[in-house]
């Protein structure tokens, strides 16, 4: 499953009221989440693009934590295969980018639309001013308001009957194996001497969470799994199900059972955004953001003056999660916690 997010030019053109000379040039926003192209520590990239004569051109890009976007209520948008795009050069100032992968994405979308008749869904993305402020060299005064007007995002899923050849295997790809949906974690091409080529693949079974290692002969293929990662706001639990709502403005709701919610239950806070994995349209898994900020509701009193080293104690957070914290932490403080390791990161910056 590949989500393609990009800006629909016709929609932008209607909202931006483009000025003189801009008839063929509509600004837009493109999000990509290929970690390899971003700067260190920024597993998510974002960039401003332009449509020029129907071709998307990225002209400002920057690395950005997806979690930061989630906290700002920006829905998950895209998964372009943009490994050709570079965002920052080593001095961190100038931004480099290219148009090829975006053109490719546009072509993919067009061909998919021709096959299926219509895009899967159109979401609204509100581009807040804070985001604009993150862009280097960006001068809002130079541009008109349309730079942070709502922009339509087309979200397109691949044909569910598609299959992937070993040469297309890459991490993140969702495939069916032995009747279960799996995500490819690693793919290694091996070819001993002058012999047969194989793909050695590590996959995580999304049903059981077990990691499998499997080998395929080069040229074999696997069926694509109808699995999508979507960002959804947690609404409430009725005791049996946990209810989530899409953040794309559609208000579409999904009920996740205990198995799907799993360990994420201890991080759930109403109105926060989580990644909900859908399999054949039903929640399969719920993943919290890598970092959350939560209030301490219970912990033993700390020692006065003990601000630096030594010792830790358990603290219960507002969602029920218990993490080890330094002795100086007190009830009522808001902490930043890494949900993957259950570890205290620091006090939240207020």
């Amino acid at each position: 499953m590949v989500l393609i997010g990009e800006v629909a030019p016709e929609t932008v053109a209607t909202v931006d009221g483009a000025g003189a000379g801009d008839n063929q040039q509509s600004p837009g926003l493109v999000f990509v989440d290929q970690p390899v192209v971003c700067t260190a520590g920024a597993p998510f990239g974002a960039g401003f693009g332009q449509w020029i004569d129907g071709v998307a051109r990225l002209w400002r890009g920057f690395g950005l934590h997806w979690q930061d976007l989630a906290q700002q209520r920006v829905g998950r948008v895209a998964g372009l295969d943009t490994r050709g795009i570079g965002f920052r050069n080593p001095n961190g100032k100038q931004v480099v980018a290219g148009a090829g992968p975006l053109q490719q994405a546009v072509r993919e979308r067009q061909s998919a639309q021709q096959c299926m008749g219509a895009p899967d869904g159109i979401g609204q993305l509100f581009l807040p001013a804070w985001l604009v402020g993150l862009i280097p060299d960006f001068n809002p005064g130079r541009a008109s308001l349309y730079h942070w007007r709502p922009i339509s995002i087309v979200i397109k899923s691949d044909d569910p009957m598609a299959s992937y050849n070993t040469s297309e295997f890459r991490s993140g790809l969702k495939v069916m194996l032995d009747g279960d949906p799996c995500v490819i974690l690693e793919n290694e091409f091996v070819k001993p001497g002058k012999g047969q080529a194989f793909s050695r693949v590590k996959l995580r079974n999304l049903n059981t969470n077990r990691v499998w290692e499997r080998t395929f002969k080069s040229g074999e293929s696997l069926e694509a799994a109808d699995v999508m990662d979507l960002d959804m706001e947690y609404l409430y639990s009725d005791g049996e199900f946990w209810h989530f709502m899409k953040t794309d403005g559609s208000f579409e709701q999904f009920a996740a059972d205990e198995r799907a919610v799993g360990d994420a239950v201890k991080w759930l806070r109403e109105q926060d955004v989580y990644t909900v994995t859908l399999y054949n349209g039903a929640p399969l898994n719920v993943t919290p953001p890598n970092f959350v900020e939560l209030e301490v509701v219970q912990t033993d009193p700390g020692l006065k003056g003990d601000t630096a080293q030594g010792g830790s104690k358990p603290a219960t957070l507002s969602t029920g999660a218990v993490v080890n914290v330094p002795l100086f932490i007190e009830e009522g403080e808001v902490l930043k916690v890494d949900t993957r390791t259950n570890e205290y990161v620091g006090r939240a910056k207020s």
């Binding site: 480099v96 290219g98 091996v190 070819k191 001993p192 001497g193 002058k194 012999g195 080998t215």
Partner: protein, 314 residues
């Protein structure tokens, strides 16, 4: 899309230094540098190699997957010892240690025994990598020691079962050589990571298309060696086949195998066969993956780190 090279400048410089070192190494040993075509009329027939076809109206040829055929024709013409660094092409090979276009260092030594050539390879690799002298193990002994399998005497069923159990492949979708390939890549190569440089010698004949065969310890072995450094397959040497009739027969068998695997048949290189018939001198030859040598020399973990423009950027 970035226009920038994948390799950092120090890697680009390391490649230049390596080429300089190689040229001096061969010059000191009176081995002549040659240049043969990248585009040729014939491609190799080896069953597991797909050549990149190239041509135009009125001409069809292939980007060479190895300069071997042309270099053997130079040997037949009396060139004496020769070496070449050339770009070579293999369709679809892409991964941590593979790029569809890569650099091959290939050299031929008329009159050398395979052991003499192994010693020269060891000298070169020790010079470039500053590593200890390679140990030598036979293909058979590694399978026996590490897997308790005998690639000569065990049944295909047994080998395929063993290969299936380590890979998740079905035993029925593997033939004998594929099973050996699985066991080599999944079990033996990882083990070699912990050893220093290792020569593997005396391959099953089915694993060495262009090598001579001899009887050894009651079985027929191919006079082929491979050098592994830190588990990376670095080079492949043969006591070269110089018999035209035998070569023609292997071309034929390769094409039978290709057909079985659903690959297009490759026309036998008639010019090579003619050269062999006229007489290619007794020689040993070796092909070394230059990019992998550079990876080892610079500590790179992916071939793209040593290529200015790997295929995705080329």
């Amino acid at each position: 899309m970035s226009w920038r090279p994948a390799a950092q400048l120090p890697q680009v410089q390391a490649r230049a230094r390596l080429l300089h070192t190689l040229r001096r190494f061969f010059e000191d040993r009176d081995v002549l540098e040659v240049q043969t075509p990248v585009l040729g009329q014939y491609g190799v027939s080896e069953p597991a190699i797909d050549c990149v076809a190239a041509g135009w109206e009125g001409y069809s040829g292939y980007l060479q997957s190895s300069p071997e055929y042309h270099m053997k024709r130079l040997l037949a013409a009396g060139s004496g010892p020769i070496f070449q660094v050339s770009p070579v092409f293999r369709a679809g090979e892409q991964g941590r240690y593979h790029n569809p276009e890569f650099s091959m260092l290939e050299w031929y030594r008329p009159g050398f025994t395979l052991d003499q050539l192994k010693a020269e390879v060891a000298d070169l690799v020790m010079l470039v990598l500053n590593c200890p002298p390679p140990q030598t193990h036979s293909y058979r002994s590694l399978f026996q020691q590490l897997l308790s399998l005998d690639p000569w005497r065990d049944s295909s069923e047994r080998l395929c079962e063993a290969a299936a159990s380590v890979s998740g492949l079905s035993p029925t979708e593997l033939d004998r050589d594929e099973a050996l390939d699985v066991l080599m890549s999944h079990c033996i190569e990882p083990h070699l990571k912990e050893r220093g440089p290792v020569f593997i010698t005396d391959y099953p004949p089915s694993q060495a298309a262009l090598a001579r065969t001899v009887e050894k310890d009651g079985v027929t072995v191919a006079r082929r060696f491979e050098l592994y450094v830190e588990g990376v397959e670095l080079c492949n040497g043969y006591h070269e086949l110089t018999d035209a009739r035998e070569q023609a027969e292997r071309f034929r068998l390769d094409n039978v195998e290709r057909e079985r695997k659903g690959r297009p048949a490759m026309a036998p290189d008639e010019r090579l066969l003619a050269a062999l018939a006229d007489g290619v001198p007794e020689c040993c030859g070796v092909a070394l993956g230059l990019d992998r040598l550079l990876m080892l020399a610079t500590g790179a973990s992916h071939i793209e780190q040593v290529l200015a423009f790997p295929v995705a950027r080329a």
